[in-house]
């Protein structure tokens, strides 16, 4: 399974469950497992917390 944003290989543990958040090791994008049937997994973008910027 590759990261939808940067195409890095995502390591999704076998026991991962629907609703769990998976984070990309390269680009830091977060995804929620929306569907999991055996090896068929679907992800949707998890809402990301706004970045705080100094002045």
């Amino acid at each position: 399974m590759n990261c939808p944003e940067c195409d890095a290989k995502l390591n999704i543990p076998d026991d991962a469950a629907v609703g769990e958040i998976v984070s990309c090791p390269d680009c830091g994008a977060d995804f929620e497992i929306s569907k999991k049937e055996g090896s068929n997994i679907e992800l949707k973008e998890a809402e990301s917390v706004g970045e705080d910027w100094g002045e």
Partner: protein
């Protein structure tokens, strides 16, 4: 003249007080801070020990109106909005150091801050607080909004180039370097992790870009876009903006000196630095920290038809509190250098 400072516990509020306690024309009557009510000012701004025995009071609009002619608001972005409006409605002169009244319309706040301004109808009442560009308007203003530190430093270098239509407005790159005191006292990184960094942050779409574009577009009379990339560097005070531009036609050094002298020759707080000899050849905060100067210089890269406009300032002085005092002097008819005749603290 009596002044008050709302939100005096941060770096910017502290710097404003540092200048006000020594300002010949004013007396500080009120200093507020939510967390430090009742505490002596010098417990929160220790360097002011011996200068004032004021204590922090609560924010009380009636007291402020009664005891102050001018109020400085040095509270974080978002909290200044209501305070400034309340004071404005009471007819007091306000110098706001936050970002809440810098941009002229809601659309700009949507784009650069993703923030819905509660009182957009007050935005046109605010004057952008750069005397070198808006002196006449500031004289008549009741509300002046001090510019962002990188915005004022970059804009001052670029303004004459835009005014004289010298550069390709599709390729204006502002590469800025800024010290740690620019990040606000609350959000500072631990020293061990802040020392030695050269850290790009928001390389694209940084909020200050909105102010630079606003000011340059006004000068040009057309939409100007700017590519800004800020970097945190290992100094406490200081900004250096390297404004990379591309010339529309070849230019002589002499012409450019003329253009910058026309723009800033009579200005007290802009020095033109482009020297072949000596220690100080191009603008560098090292030789202006602690003073209200914005030093401007330039260099030509003929091979690439590039003009590098350089500008440096102290992010807490010309980039914040120094501008605030300068704006007050203009608003109140004082000598513009009053309370600002600081020589840079070099070396530091």
């Amino acid at each position: 003249m009596k002044v008050g400072v709302v939100g005096a516990s941060g770096y910017v509020g502290g710097e404003t007080l540092r200048l006000l306690v020594n300002h010949p024309d004013v007396e500080i009557t009120t200093v507020t801070s939510r967390q430090h009510v009742g505490e002596y000012l010098h417990r929160v701004q220790p360097s002011l020990k011996g200068f004032t025995d004021l204590t922090f009071s609560e924010l009380d609009y009636d007291k402020l109106t009664d005891k102050c002619d001018v109020v400085f608001t040095a509270v974080p972005h978002g909290t200044a909005t209501e305070i400034v409006k309340a004071l404005y409605d009471r007819g007091i002169k306000i110098i706001d150091l936050s970002a809440d009244y810098r941009l002229h319309n809601q659309e700009a706040y949507d784009k650069w801050y993703g923030w819905t301004h509660p009182h957009p109808d007050y935005l046109p009442k605010s004057v952008f607080g750069v005397p070198e560009l808006h002196r006449e308007e500031i004289k008549k203003a009741q509300l002046v909004s001090c510019p962002g530190c990188m915005a004022v430093t970059s804009t001052l270098a670029l303004a004459p180039l835009i005014k004289n239509d010298l550069i390709d407005t599709n390729h204006i790159i502002v590469d800025s370097k800024i010290g740690s005191s620019g990040a606000g006292s609350g959000s500072g990184t631990a020293h061990a992790m802040r020392a030695g960094v050269i850290r790009p942050y928001k390389p694209a779409k940084h909020r200050h870009t909105g102010e630079i574009e606003q000011e340059l577009s006004e000068i040009a009379g057309s939409k100007i876009k700017v590519s800004m990339s800020p970097h945190a560097v290992d100094v406490v005070r200081g900004i250096l903006c390297t404004n990379h531009t591309f010339l529309k036609k070849d230019m002589e050094q002499k012409e450019l000196w003329k253009i910058y002298r026309e723009a800033y020759g009579d200005e007290k707080f802009v020095r033109l630095i482009r020297d072949k000899k000596g220690l100080y050849k191009f603008p560098d905060p090292k030789f202006l920290v602690g003073s209200n100067f914005c030093d401007i210089g330039f260099d030509f890269d003929e091979d690439n038809n590039r003009l590098i406009a350089l500008s440096a300032s102290d992010n807490l002085m010309k980039g914040a509190a120094g501008s605030a005092i300068q704006n007050m002097n203009v608003m109140c008819g004082f000598d513009e250098m009053s309370g600002l005749r600081y020589t840079p603290l070099t070396p530091v």
